[in-house]
Symmetry: C2
Subunit: 324 residues, 2 copies
Amino acid sequence: MNIKEISELCGVSTCTVSRVLSGRGKEYRISDKTAERIFRIAADTGYRPNYLAHSLNTGKTNSIGVVLANRLDSYLGGIVEGIESHLRGTEYQMVVATCDNSPDIEKEEVEQMLYRHVDGMIIYPLAPPREPAEAAMKYEAPPTSDEVPLVIVGRKASVEADEVMLGDYPAGQSVAQNFMAAGCRTFAVVTRARHCSSDYGRERGFVDALREAGVEQERITIIANRETPSEEEINRLKTAEAIFGVNSFLLLEYLEWLRRTKDISRLRLSSVGEVEGSELFDLLFEPLIMPSRQLGVEAARMLLWRIENPGAPCRHTEISLLVQ
Amino acid sequence: MNIKEISELCGVSTCTVSRVLSGRGKEYRISDKTAERIFRIAADTGYRPNYLAHSLNTGKTNSIGVVLANRLDSYLGGIVEGIESHLRGTEYQMVVATCDNSPDIEKEEVEQMLYRHVDGMIIYPLAPPREPAEAAMKYEAPPTSDEVPLVIVGRKASVEADEVMLGDYPAGQSVAQNFMAAGCRTFAVVTRARHCSSDYGRERGFVDALREAGVEQERITIIANRETPSEEEINRLKTAEAIFGVNSFLLLEYLEWLRRTKDISRLRLSSVGEVEGSELFDLLFEPLIMPSRQLGVEAARMLLWRIENPGAPCRHTEISLLVQ
DNA sequence: CTGAAAGCGCTTACAG
DNA sequence: CTGAAAGCGCTTACAG
């Protein structure tokens, strides 16, 4: 079934059919009877316009590319879900690709998206490389936004584009405040080596809030992890009454080691990201819930806005990430 | 940059360019110099063929639709990852949609995929409805495979199509055998109300293996959960030395209740699906790892095969799911 | 070995 | 109020 057959069945020309079916019958002042007949016949025959031909003509594909640095864990899954739910009901559909943390794949996938003529892209970018040497050799920023409307979500990238980020710094602050309110006197934060702006923001927020509250340097332990936990790190951790993990995986890893040398059941613990079954831990563990779905919703909302407003200056939105 | 401009730059016709660039220069016996010149100019100008025009002509979009019943948790995320990794390097790209467990959305998303002219689809279908009444009213099977090559993954659907399923029954058996090998004498299985074939397969495998090994009926407790755990259920569970959960969420839910009335640290536990941080539980817990990635890989492999072999009879593959 | 021409299914000035 | 015609960018018999 194509537009030509419809037009023959209706006894009108293809352009009339096209105009009516694209909802612009009124605009072209096509008579109501003609319009109705066209609608009815289209419905009866189960006509569906050809997406490819339509897009070829209009230059719009109604698809949004989503490129994600990592595999789909619950965090990225949440972002995707948020994007999808915001897009549902609009004319847009989502095309997803993940990059397995490889800059080459990221580049390729972005290319693919452009090749598919997506109307816009949402990118959760790779973390910048740890080693400067690596950086010089391999890293390339995602495409600049002049090719296509672009929103960066969840992690900074070296592109001028709209951004939707987590409120990492305030999250760190709020954890520190909770710990102090619970009466803790010595603190630790466990983080990855500091190349990732998200982790670093949380750490800074945490440490700054403590300092501002008058906690002395020697009561704050900072562990910037590179590989698996070392004995020296575990020893430093022992003195803390409260530990903040910039993410839950990392915290759990340390706890596994720590519990061998110390009773951890009275320790105050907090980290970013829920842990399923954590009720069984028997620990004073308060996870910060990742608002990943909300990140996705906001990113999609912003992208659609950007598509409508190509010229406007870049915007930055922050989604808050608080205890509870 | 389009094919016409290239042809003008090369001083040949558009069809010659098209033939060379589609890699069929030899076939049409186009001279090597011409071909080389075309390749060079195309590369120099950064020419990329127009995907939409190409697809409109060939009827192939090189895209695979993936429709998932639920949001992207780590299970479905794994499937998606498997599909994607198998597709990477081929000419195919993946379009994903999730359905939030709604039959209406599922139908709509499948429509969308057909509208987008996907070359094939992989569906993780909705669970069949629990109530027969609901069934009659709302449930509609995914599209039959005559519209487009189709692979059903992870859960049975009432369609005649290629399938990639988990080895649920053998998994249940292997858990039972492990429990018996560990010397347990009384057993329980916790499952959802039995509408889901996957859960039911696991339960049957478990129970059958016990029976075959001579375990009497009264030493096997079966709890088919509907809502939150009830007191009566917890009481029945107390007698068991080993508990098998058809999925880990469910098991954890019961353990939460059970631990209030009983020391669970010597209980043998097993369930399907890893739990992050489970090392901190201090329980005899052995999860069965979901081979979700493998499911995806296999589904993609099968779909590509099906695209090449439209007429062949339906195939069924089972991915094994064993302890460790 | 290569090209002119028709066609994929739709849209959109332009003309009436 | 409606249609003939050109065009989107590519492919592919057909003819030479």
